[in-house]
Amino acid sequence: MLTFYIRAVRAESLKLKRSPVWLAFFSLPIISAFFGTMNYTLNIGVLKSEWYSLWSQHTFFLCYLFMPALIGTYCSYLWRLEHTRHNWNSFLTAPLPLSTLYLGKLTQAVRVSVLANLWIFLLFYVCGRLAGIRSPFPREALEWYLCGTLGAVVICCVQLLFSLMIRSFAIPVGIALAGGIFGLYMTNRDYGMNYPYSLYCMGMRANNPNMEIHIPALLVNSAGYILVFAALSIFYLRVHERAAD
């Protein structure tokens, strides 16, 4: 099974060569960091908690808008590769289990989420120093990173299902954007833990002045959503006949 998984991941990596979605990977966190840092420096009289204040500004647009859009774009691209040029025929006749073929896609989406989050934290550090913050970088940032990445994996699973089911590139990206924005409402109503698009924001401690969350609940809910949406995608791959499309 591991051999099949490695083969599927390698094949997906090969497909992503010369992929244009890396532009979104680099640019969206930069835009978000730029606006966040600008907001921080313009309101430095009110925002006095240095790294924590800067983080609140960085994560606001990022978590509710840019990151869901980034993941949505990436997942749409991953399935678009198969939706076009009759590629379903070769994808579905590959001598690998359908679950492994799906995991190959998921691994690529997760890889980008992990790297995008690293890029976001690097930008956060650089912007903080450029904004004149001299205190040490917060240790809790590692926890925010890990919890945030887990939340991002949940969005990957949800978006992979939508992009698998919907041939259009733009509609799933729109769903990701709407899902992210609605996440702000759900988090403010304290339903964040039960809403897949909010788990990333909660893990990243976006819009969270206390910077505290119930980590076991985050872990359990994220694992639940990951399993459910991955299972739905694999089930869809198994039952939906591309020949009838």
Binding site: L14, W88, S90, T93
Partner: protein
């Protein structure tokens, strides 16, 4: 009991809504054959091939590949021994021909050496580093065939492989398909709506019309149906038919004519004398030859497009 066929379908049926696009097809593909799956456009060829590959689920019936009934459990194992090119070639246009083949090679888990070999077979070695978006349609089709050949599978399923090719490309594809059983021990199941193409490529033929397999046998048997006949038109057809049968001649009536097997001139003259002696007037004596196309049209119906 083990089946002597590499591909065997039993009452294979596919229904979309009320439309039975494949209806109780019993296909038998012998090992080592080039099986030409012939039928007009929309007859159900692609759907049948898709069901064999697991891309569509049969509404009824079953499929046996390599002597093993196909199920969800053994799907992977059977696919590993199968190469396919269905409808149009699959490809990732932003990648080179070689990169496209590397993806299939990785998924199939076959040797890297196969890439160079299949590129050589389809004559794409020089274009291996070119983006597939910049390939011509014929080159894409050849790349699709190269992908199907990767791992040199036991069974190759090609759906209208000459579509979009120029005359030279069509001839090249035909020669290549014909050479595969001898060169690599493959069995080829190839579909086409062109009778001439199947006539030149296949040694076994299945003809599908409106979802039903209406003829299946060796190409020789199909050619045997195109034998020469003598057609007679006479004044009293029924009496003439009796007379011919009394002479041991198997004659068949087709509209106003009696169709007799080919015979020598002396025998025909003798028959004519006997008919006249019975007061039967002879209006016409014709030599008829049914072309392969006539046979195909009589099987598939003249309204079908070729």
């Amino acid at each position: 009991m083990p089946t002597p066929y590499l591909v065997e379908t039993h009452n294979l049926t596919k229904q979309y809504g009320k439309n039975r696009c494949v209806n109780a097809v019993n296909m038998h593909v012998p090992p080592g054959a080039v099986y030409g799956f012939l039928g007009p456009n929309g007859a159900g060829k692609s759907t049948t091939l898709k069901m064999i590959l697991g891309l569509a689920r049969p509404t009824e019936g079953s499929i046996t590949l390599f002597g093993t009934p196909v199920s969800e459990k053994n799907r992977m194992k059977l696919l590993a021994q199968t190469g396919s090119l269905i409808e149009s070639p699959s490809y990732y246009g932003h990648l080179t021909g070689e990169e496209n083949l590397r993806i299939i090679q990785t998924l199939k888990g076959c040797s890297e050496k196969d890439i160079s070999e299949v590129l050589k077979i389809v004559r794409l070695s020089e274009a291996r580093g070119k983006l597939v978006n910049h390939y011509s349609l014929g080159m894409k089709q050849r790349l699709g065939l190269a992908a199907a050949l990767l791992g040199f599978p036991k069974l190759l399923i090609l759906d209208e492989p000459t579509n979009g090719l120029d005359p030279a490309g069509i001839q090249e594809m035909r020669e290549l398909v014909c050479s595969l059983p001898a060169a690599y021990g493959m069995t080829v199941l190839v579909s086409s709506h062109l009778l001439d193409e199947i006539d030149r490529m296949a040694d076994y033929v299945g003809i599908i019309r409106k979802g039903g397999l209406i003829w299946q046998d060796s190409l020789e048997s199909l050619h045997a149906r195109s034998k020469e006949q003598i057609a007679l038109r006479v004044s009293h057809t029924a009496i003439a038919l009796d007379l011919l049968r009394q002479n041991g001649i198997e004659a068949a009536q087709e509209e106003e004519y009696l169709l007799l097997p080919m015979m020598d001139d002396a025998y025909v003259a003798n028959l004519c004398r006997q008919l006249v002696a019975q007061n039967i007037s002879l209006y016409r004596i014709e030599k008829r030859e049914k072309s392969l196309e006539d046979i195909f049209l009589s099987l598939t119906g003249k309204e079908s497009s070729l």
